[in-house]
Amino acid sequence: MSDTPDPNADPLGWLESRALWQGSLFRSLLQEVRAGDRLPPGTRLGSFRIVEELGAGGMAVVYRAQRDDGQFDQSVAIKCVPANPSTRDIELFQRERQIQATLNHPNIARLLDGGTLDGGRAWLAMELVDGQHIDAHADSNQLDLPARVRLVQQVIAAVAHAHQRLLLHRDIKPSNVLVDTEGRVKLLDFGIAGWIDESAQVHAYSPGWASPEQSRNETVGPASDQYQIGLLLGRLIDPLLPSTGQRTRELRAILAKARHDDPEQRYHSVAEFGAELERWLEGLPVLAMRGGWGYALNCAIRRRPWLSLGSATAALLLLGLLIGFNWRLQVENARTERAAAIAENVNRFLTEDLLSQADPYNTPKPDLSVREVLDRARAGLGGRFVGEPGIEAGIRATLARSYSGVGEYDVATQEYERAIELAEAIGEHAPDELGALRAERADMRSRLGDVSAALAELKLLGEQERARAGGDNRLQISFALQAIEIQVAASQTETALAAIALLQPRLAILAADDTLRIELLAAEGEAAMRLAKFSQGDRALQEAEKLAGRLLGAESPRLQLILQNRAILYRQMGQLTPALELERRVLAWQEQRFGRQHPETQRTLNELASMLQDDRQFELAEQLFREVLAERERKLGVGSVLTRNSLNNLGLVLSLQNKLDEAEVHYRRALDVERELLGADAFDVLILAHNLAGLLRKRGELDAALALSRDTVERAERTLSAERHEPALFRVGLAQTLQKLGRYAEARVEFTSARERLAKLLGADHARIAKLDEMLAALETERLAH
């Protein structure tokens, strides 16, 4: 203070200078004065008693207090208006009280009580949060990236709740976000919060945590809170974010959008910001990356095939097919700008019109079916791309594949026709893409029932391509592969295997890392498995596994599908130990990716339980079947086919353990529901009735078992095609009941009839025939003994 006069030479000058009111002595007086403002421990406010001071915020001192009315033990935080408050203090305090009363959210500290002290000082009792600041919590618990994002999701939920009530927080920062001992986020301190529409805004903010508009002292809106949440998210994830990778790029794009300098460029709302993070957590395409090259493709691959967009299977196929489309464009046409523009337009249409509507977090109708989404997209297509036939062709092709994915082959065929027409007219499409479209249109024929027409068309396409290219090429092999897949699906398994063998010498033209090789091996494995050529199937699937692991990575979904097929193969071979091991690998992968409750994980659990049952590990199987049943009943209701299947499975494993009473309960429940839903002739109902009849037989209720078995056999013969082997199985059940009743001659007739049919369908050397011969022999022995 060089400009301060010497107090001895010029005492009045010293008093007039800054020394008196801006000096340390006056501040020291104010501190002393202020200390007298505090509520000493033991002070009673309503039913609370002050325990200690927790801290002094900008507007008020906060104390820890204890409920003191003998009711129950509860620690609370008390905020008390200062003694002799200014008008502004009172306004702010009343505002906070009003705001807290408006809010009711699990992630916002609750207002518990309020009152006035004798001197007229108002106080609020708030939920006291026993926890750490959000950043300290994340670090001390070494939370991983997704867990940190989920924490921020809780903050967003709280802020979105406030925004819905037209309230802004305006001071979101780590010290205002606590995480309690149960991991629940609590947003604190609506001290400088305010209403969105109020004109007189409080401009106080915490340095380092202000949005650009706050720093500029401009009017702030909900986007400012979003910015601060963005800062918070950045603080939490920056130390953990790998420097590269798709997931990192996505998060960085999301952060950049939420923390955009221009509020207009941020997400439209914090709820949308939250939806975006949820998409990131789920591995869905994020909006912040929209338009990015090949982006939808990556997401689709990452998620395929275990999706949760409503009907999982349909969506799975839809997305799976979209991959194919993007992939072809990318590989074949990426070199030209023109093609890149087309691909980008198509991608945008996919993400905005298709995927975003099927996105459970971004749609007003969460149960919108894939079919409805497609219809909307198709209707919306109209004349939007007039003059852009290249783009329209791409979109129509995508629609065609999607419709095919949900089983609408007629509509799909129409869209294929249109896409091919457009593509041919402009002559812009790569031969691969056009050829693929034609092959897929051919495939529609097989789906509509005309397998031979589809195969003939594919053959013709192959020949045309050979003439055009003047020799063998990859496209011709892909046609051949498609024909093989059709044959496998149509049970022309021998032919398919022969075709695969014929294809082998031609594969030399494929690059060693061509993914077509994986598909061929997978098709061969499946075909061989169906023909019980187990060693061939095993070899093909093992090779497919190796190649998929090498080309797509050990964590790729494609690899998991191959592993599942390998498990099925081992199960059919009766080698349960490797089957169980493979199934458990798939289960671990799914659990880690989708969680235990995900429908696909549950399906695998069900499969695993069936294998355990085969392996006679009944208790473990029962336990898993029960888990799956409970989850499905909860999520899908008892009417769902999956739930009914679970009831049936549980019934079976119980009856195998001779827990017959309990088994019957589940069987009957399943049968009642099924009859009601599907009618008494439905295939599933017949299977159930057959199982129940077996149970009744075991319990010695032979007349009831006989009646049910006869009825089942009669219905099966009447409704099932001659190709099915199930009527024979039902007949075996009937025969067993007759045998128990001592009606040996009738039993013999039924056994023999069943054997005849099975031998015709499965071949005379099938394991089931041997088993039947054993049963017939036993019947003979028993008859003779009588």
């Binding site: 010029d10 801006q22 000096g23 006056f26």
Partner: protein, 186 residues
């Protein structure tokens, strides 16, 4: 006579109870501004003028009215402010003497507060001597410095003319410096 008017009158005449009530009024207002000033919020510069005026407004709501009440209050408030500051300075010095060796560890802020307390106590003692020579001089200093009143407001508070206030203040400046001059024996 209104209650507040009576209170001010009694305080003027030296009733310690009434005087303490006036000091308490000022003290409450200091509490009110303390948070803001310490947090450095708003205009961080403290202005005693605003404080005494706000304080009078509260008093007016409680029944004070008229030119005379206002004048009396301003003079009293100025003295109360001086007393609060001087007492705090005295307390600090007393504490400092009791603290002994701990002096070494004081922060910059603490050290300068102690230095200011020393200066203020010196001036306060000088003001007491000045009061023995001419009480009006001290009253002018209190109004101008400790309550931040303008010359006119000081004239109103002391029931005299603007010119007189100017003259008294100039005289007080010279006399106070003379009293404090180091070559003069204390």
């Amino acid at each position: 006579m209104a209650e507040v008017t009576e209170l001010l009158e009694r305080a003027r005449q030296g009733d310690p109870l009434a005087w303490n009530q006036v000091v308490a009024l000022i003290y409450d207002d200091l509490k009110r501004v303390a948070r803001g000033v310490l947090a450095g919020r708003g205009s961080a510069t403290f202005n005693p003028t605003v404080l005494v005026h706000d304080c009078y407004l509260r008093l007016a709501r409680a029944g004070a009215h008229g030119v005379q009440d206002r004048a009396h209050f301003m003079a009293l408030a100025a003295r109360a402010m001086r007393q609060l500051l001087s007492n705090h300075a005295r307390d600090r010095m007393a504490q400092k003497r009791g603290a002994g060796a701990a002096v070494e560890t004081l922060s910059e802020e603490e050290r300068s507060a102690d230095l200011e307390a020393e200066h203020l106590l010196g001036i306060s003692t000088a003001l007491e001597r000045l009061d023995a020579i001419e009480p009006k001089w001290v009253q002018v200093v209190e109004c101008r410095v400790f309550a931040g009143l303008s010359e006119q407001e000081t004239a109103d508070a002391l029931g005299t003319s603007l010119r007189t206030v100017q003259r008294w203040y100039a005289e007080a400046r010279v006399e106070l410096a003379r009293i404090m001059a180091p070559d003069r024996p204390g």
